[in-house]
């Protein structure tokens, strides 16, 4: 991490170790005295919360794996055995299954924080890119984990998602056969998914390490989006943020426990308690909630062809796949789409509003993904005759327009108010104003 000097330790054993391998110095520099902006709000808790979730998933996953059998003949039964016979198996499984959901809750909020406060901007571009990479790896891990219990949703979810790759021209079918290790989702598929489900979380640990390393090179951003200039702008990480993070983690764990103990199957799908049957598709396949917006983008795409002819350039299937992966790929290049020098939405009158619409569009996409492909929007029990498909199309268009049109345009034309001279002064001004933020002085560029 940073090139800070070695610390002094009174304990001779610690000092002896530290001279040879400066682990303790590193901990002290990076988590003890590490200067951190003094104006974090609660959005800054979710990185630590995500870290706790990652550790929880690995700990529970390891013990589940000791009782799980990755074989199509045994998998479903072995999970039921975990639920009924293994000591505390039910708890470990519910903690793991709901933990995946909570991990995504934390990461979605964490990503929103980054978008809203412009954390992805120079000099934190690589930090942001590593974060998007973690998000992708998490999605792959969760998808393969959901296949393991080998229920109906496991099987059909795996079938539908792996079949996406058949949309790739020419080699698509070969890729799908290669992914399956056969001619359908079957034992070889389950086996390799288990291997990857076991492996990828440790890859995530590696990328998280680099993510935090990069964070400690640039230092944290903050709600004002202006860099720390003097010592007055910061507080040491410990005890200030160890306490605040600890508090946030506890509140989050209470929320998590409500699901684990009182609604353990609410976020899952009842069909996954029916053993996988390759001969019968359930009437309505839905992925886990955290994939719904992307699933909606997948289904929203129409055939793309030359107007007024029957010539189709990109089939809706391929267009859907491109849209789905594109919606995440676009996050990688966001630091270069948004050239506005102002980070925080607090000082961005247009971007902050666009972010609200963006969140609404994303949630609407999630609702569209939850509903059957041909369903209409019903409000207060009444059919509005508005197909979800069209809502999904509009929302998906907005999703892409946000990044490809609005963000670059705002960077050019949005008015830029004067930024506070320093974090310290902004915090004091807010305090003197009775806790209300001081409206930034409007100033045209």
């Amino acid at each position: 991490m940073g090139q800070k000097g070695r610390a002094e330790f009174k304990n001779p054993v610690i000092a002896w170790v530290d001279e040879r391998l400066p682990l303790f110095s590193m901990m002290k520099n990076e988590y003890g005295v590490f200067p951190t902006p003094k104006n974090f709000n609660y959005f800054w808790n979710f990185g630590a919360i995500a870290m706790v979730m990652l550790i929880t998933m690995i700990a529970t996953g390891l013990v589940l794996a000791m009782n799980y059998a990755a074989n199509t003949g045994l998998a479903f039964e072995s999970v039921e055995r975990i639920m009924r016979d293994v000591n505390y198996g039910w708890l470990l499984r519910y903690v793991h299954a709901n933990g995946a959901s909570m991990f995504f809750v934390a990461v979605y909020i964490h990503i929103f924080r980054g978008l809203y406060y412009g954390s992805y901007k120079r000099p934190r571009e690589l930090l942001w890119i590593l974060g998007v990479l973690i998000f992708l790896l998490m999605m792959a891990t969760a998808f393969m984990g959901y296949v393991l219990p080998w229920g109906q949703m496991s099987f059909w979810g795996a079938t539908v998602i792996t079949n996406l790759f058949s949309a790739i021209p020419l080699v698509g079918e070969h890729i799908v056969t290669w992914l399956w290790g056969g001619f359908s989702v079957d034992n070889p598929t389950l086996n390799r998914f288990f291997v990857f489900h076991f492996l990828l979380p440790f890859v995530i640990v590696g990328v998280v390490f680099m993510h935090i390393w990069a964070l400690h090179v640039t230092g944290s951003s903050n709600p004002l989006g202006i860099e720390m200039k003097t010592e007055k702008d910061s507080v040491p990480f410990h005890p200030y943020y160890t306490m605040k993070d600890g508090f946030g983690i506890l509140v989050f764990l209470i929320f998590y426990c409500l699901f684990v103990f009182f609604a353990p199957n609410t976020l899952g799908h009842p069909d996954n308690y029916i053993p996988a049957n390759p001969m019968q598709t359930p009437p309505h396949i839905v992925p886990e909630w955290y994939f719904l917006p992307f699933y909606a983008i997948l289904r929203a795409a129409p055939d793309i062809g030359i107007p007024f002819t029957k010539i189709i350039l990109i089939s809706s299937k391929l267009a859907g796949v491109i849209g789905m992966f594109g919606s995440i790929a676009i996050l990688f290049i966001l630091p270069w789409l948004d050239r506005s020098p102002i980070r925080s939405s607090i000082f961005r009158p247009w971007y902050s509003k666009a972010m609200i619409v963006f969140v609404i569009a994303f949630i609407l996409l999630g609702c569209a993904g939850y509903n059957p492909a041909d369903a209409n929007l019903t409000l207060f029990g009444r059919d509005t005759h508005i197909p979800w498909l069209w809502i999904a199309r509009v929302a998906a268009l907005y999703y892409f327009a946000h990044f490809l049109v609005l963000v670059p345009l705002f960077a050019k034309f949005e008015p830029r108010p004067e930024l506070p001279p320093s974090i310290h002064e902004a915090v004091l001004a807010k305090k003197n104003n009775g806790g209300k933020p001081v409206a930034p002085a409007p100033m045209e560029r």
Binding site: V160, G181, D186, M279, K317
Partner: protein, 189 residues
């Protein structure tokens, strides 16, 4: 050769002209090419091990007795882990399938090219969109707007020849390779 000369010759070989390729460039290129071939040939066993194994490939034929299937009925059997639909079509269904004009179809194919005996329609029961099993095998199932099959996942409709007529599926239901062993026996695969 003293040290200075050696340095001249070995470390600054491009003295003559920076654009002209040297023996050293050639060595770099061949080394890189051999390296790439080496990496590729080591990677291939790893990649190929994920492809279907010999025993998976060996399961690739299934013999079916179709003696008991009446006209209008259908059966579903398993072939390579996938459902295969065998429908004994009624004269009306055969007629419907034959009447369709090819330019109405998304994936144009004549009915006669999709069957060996018009009475027996044999298809892989996997939707060409994203792989669900379409409904329409049981008499109580919805059969879609074209009297064939209906895929519940994203709403694709197939006709009495298993050709896609509506919905997101890009292709017709696939016809597996098969041969009639006798009047009442067919070998799939």
């Amino acid at each position: 050769m003293d040290d200075d000369q050696l340095i001249q010759k070995e470390l600054l070989p491009n003295e003559q002209s920076p654009t002209e390729p040297t023996r050293r460039d050639f060595l770099y290129l061949t080394a890189a090419a051999f390296g790439a071939v080496g990496v590729g040939s080591v990677a291939w066993p790893f990649i190929h091990s994920l492809n279907p194994a010999a025993d998976t490939l060996a399961l690739s034929t299934t013999e079916v007795n179709i003696g008991a299937v009446e006209p209008g009925q259908a059966i579903t059997i398993t072939w390579r882990g996938k459902p295969v639909f065998i429908r004994r079509r009624t004269p009306k269904e055969i007629d419907e399938a034959a009447q369709v004009k090819l330019d109405e179809l998304r994936d144009p194919q004549a009915d006669k090219d999709r069957v060996q005996k018009p009475e027996w329609l044999i298809l892989v029961g996997v939707c060409t969109h994203l792989g669900c099993v379409p409904l329409g095998q049981k008499s109580s199932d919805p059969r879609g707007d074209y009297d064939g099959w209906f895929c519940p996942c994203h709403g694709s409709h197939y006709d009495t020849s298993g050709r896609v007529r509506k919905g997101p599926a890009p292709k017709n239901l696939a016809v597996p390779t098969y041969k009639f062993l006798s009047e009442s026996k067919v070998l799939i695969g």
